[in-house]
């Protein structure tokens, strides 16, 4: 019987850990002013919960209990610390001077935002921003993050230690940026989330499972951000991720071969994710304060809304690329626009645009530029040019499924030439 109670408490503590630990940590970092101390406090608080809640029952407000216990345990740790360093002394003095605020758990959502903005501060290296965000905001273990990014765990642990050191030493503040800074700082948060998503989305084979989890983790982060800070571009990014993720199961064959958008089985697309994505795009567009993520999501939404590839609204997609190119000029977007124009006006029109980009010297090392050129030559019935371009694409491509796809196309072209 007693064992049953203990097991029951442990289950509940586990559930509370899953739902509350990141919130409690975010608030403890604010109260304690130190990441490591807050993590130790969080750990101690949950150990205490497992020990005490069996006897006292689960408190009415577990979050407030955990925050106050975590803070107390952290101060206790500092006091008992034998190697009493001057830095710890300064923290202790400050902590003892300020009483525990009565409503410490109020503003918890603001603390979560503070944590996100601090982890994604551009004074940290991009690698460190990603590692720290996954570790502190998402609660992944160091081993999980290391595994997902194919980095040795000690390297990743070192990266996190260094980042925390910089936050402490350079005094990166634990705050939500002011209005004037918000746009630039939000851009760096969105960038980190997008990098995490792409790492999960673009990778395939090998450690497939863990890397697919990264896409899910990025979407969770995107949702959290929209909930805490419903800015149009945050909605745009979440929409973009949902609309891409909706096509997840149709992007590859069971054997892991790549399937192009136009050949995908659209009945496999996740309707719920598409609906949510489209709704977010519409809200973001209605704000008139949207940017590149929203525009890319709008393009993905047009694709998602076509029941067959043949009914895709290419004029609208070209129009969206025109706006995107003005908002965020880049040769890659120019390339995508050229591909859309090829669909609207025919391969010849697209090909001359792609050639103009390549002649300028941009994208010469980008495999997709050569693959796009090859595809248009193929459609125009110019197989030898198509073969040359696919060969160049193959030299530059690194992802295995893409390489296999190009190889198949090359084989088809050689075959059709020998037949004719």
């Amino acid at each position: 019987m007693e064992e049953d109670v203990a097991a029951h408490v442990r289950d509940q503590v586990d559930a509370i850990y899953r739902s509350e630990s990141r919130r409690v940590l975010a608030t403890l970092i604010r109260l304690l002013g130190d990441f490591d101390l807050a993590e130790e406090g969080l750990h101690d608080a949950f150990v205490a919960a497992v020990e005490q809640w069996g006897e006292t029952g689960i408190p009415a407000n577990p979050r407030a209990w955990l925050i106050s216990t975590g803070r107390f345990k952290a101060i206790d740790r500092l006091r008992r610390s034998e190697r009493f360093e001057s830095a710890d002394g300064a923290i202790l003095d400050r902590l003892q001077a300020t009483e525990m605020p009565d409503q410490a758990e109020e503003g918890v959502e603001d603390d979560r935002l503070r944590l996100i903005f601090t982890c994604c501060h551009t004074a940290l290296s991009p690698d460190a921003q990603i590692a720290l965000t996954l570790r502190e905001v998402c609660g992944l273990t160091t081993e999980e993050v290391a595994h997902a990014f194919l980095t040795p765990p000690p390297t990743l642990a070192q990266r996190i230690v260094r980042a925390k050191g910089k936050i402490r030493d350079a005094r990166i503040p634990y705050e939500i940026p002011s209005r004037s800074d918000l746009a630039a700082r939000l851009a760096s948060v969105l960038h980190v989330i997008y990098l995490v998503f792409n790492e999960g989305y673009l990778a395939s084979s090998g450690a497939t499972l863990t890397r697919a989890d990264l896409a899910g983790e990025a979407i969770r982060l995107g949702r959290l951000l929209v909930e805490l800070l419903p800015e149009p571009e945050a909605m745009g990014l979440l929409a973009l991720m949902l609309l891409h993720e909706a096509r997840h199961s149709s992007r590859t064959t069971p054997a892991g071969e790549m399937i192009l958008l136009e050949d995908q089985d659209r009945s496999l697309w996740n309707r719920a994710q598409i609906e949510e994505g489209v709704e977010l795009v519409e809200s973001a567009l209605a704000s008139h304060r949207f940017g590149p993520y929203t525009l890319q999501a709008a393009i993905a939404a047009v694709h998602a809304e076509a029941s067959r590839a043949a009914t895709t609204d290419w004029p609208q997609i070209v129009g969206l690329y025109d706006v995107l190119l003005r908002a965020d000029p880049s040769p890659v977007i120019e390339l995508n626009r050229a591909a859309a124009i090829a669909m609207r006006d025919g391969p010849e029109a697209g090909l001359s645009l792609i050639d103009a980009i390549l002649v300028r010297g941009d994208l010469l090392e980008y495999h997709l530029a050569h693959a796009a050129r090859a595809d248009l030559c193929r459609r125009l019935g110019r197989p030898s040019e198509a073969i040359t371009a696919y060969q160049r694409a193959l030299e530059l491509a690194t992802l295995e499924p893409e390489r296999r796809f190009i190889t198949r196309r090359l084989a088809e072209l050689h075959e059709s030439r020998s037949v004719s």
Partner: protein, 118 residues
């Protein structure tokens, strides 16, 4: 907290500027200096003579050696510095971004070590 803002810029370019451009630049520096003195963030600062006037000193096993100039030719050289008082890194970045050379060169922002007894 004190931050040292190290101003890196291309001193050769600077020397090539016509007089009126240099004056305009100096005017901007004067205005910037005044603004951080007014806000109470100015602790110290100075323009440096060009790297051609620099000497590198080393002491090894009691033997002092001096060599001419900085270690290596680089595109941007340390041309001056401000020592500022700022609440935190964001505050310091805001100040550093207003240093005129932030637009042409770059500013390295380094927190000073603070001793508990100081």
């Amino acid at each position: 907290m004190k931050y040292l803002c190290l101003i890196y810029d291309n001193e050769k370019e600077w020397a090539k500027f016509p007089k009126d451009v240099q004056d305009k630049y100096m005017g901007e520096y004067m205005a910037f200096g005044d603004s951080i003195k007014k806000s109470g963030q100015y602790v110290g600062g100075s323009q440096l003579r060009p790297t051609s006037a620099a000497t590198v000193v080393r002491s090894r096993n009691g033997k002092v050696s001096t060599t001419d100039g900085p270690y290596a030719e680089t595109k941007e050289q340390l041309g001056g510095y401000y020592l500022i008082e700022a609440k935190d890194l964001n505050d310091a970045i805001q100040v550093a971004a207003r240093i005129p050379s932030a637009r042409s060169g770059s500013i390295e922002v380094r927190p000073l070590v603070e001793h508990a007894s100081a």
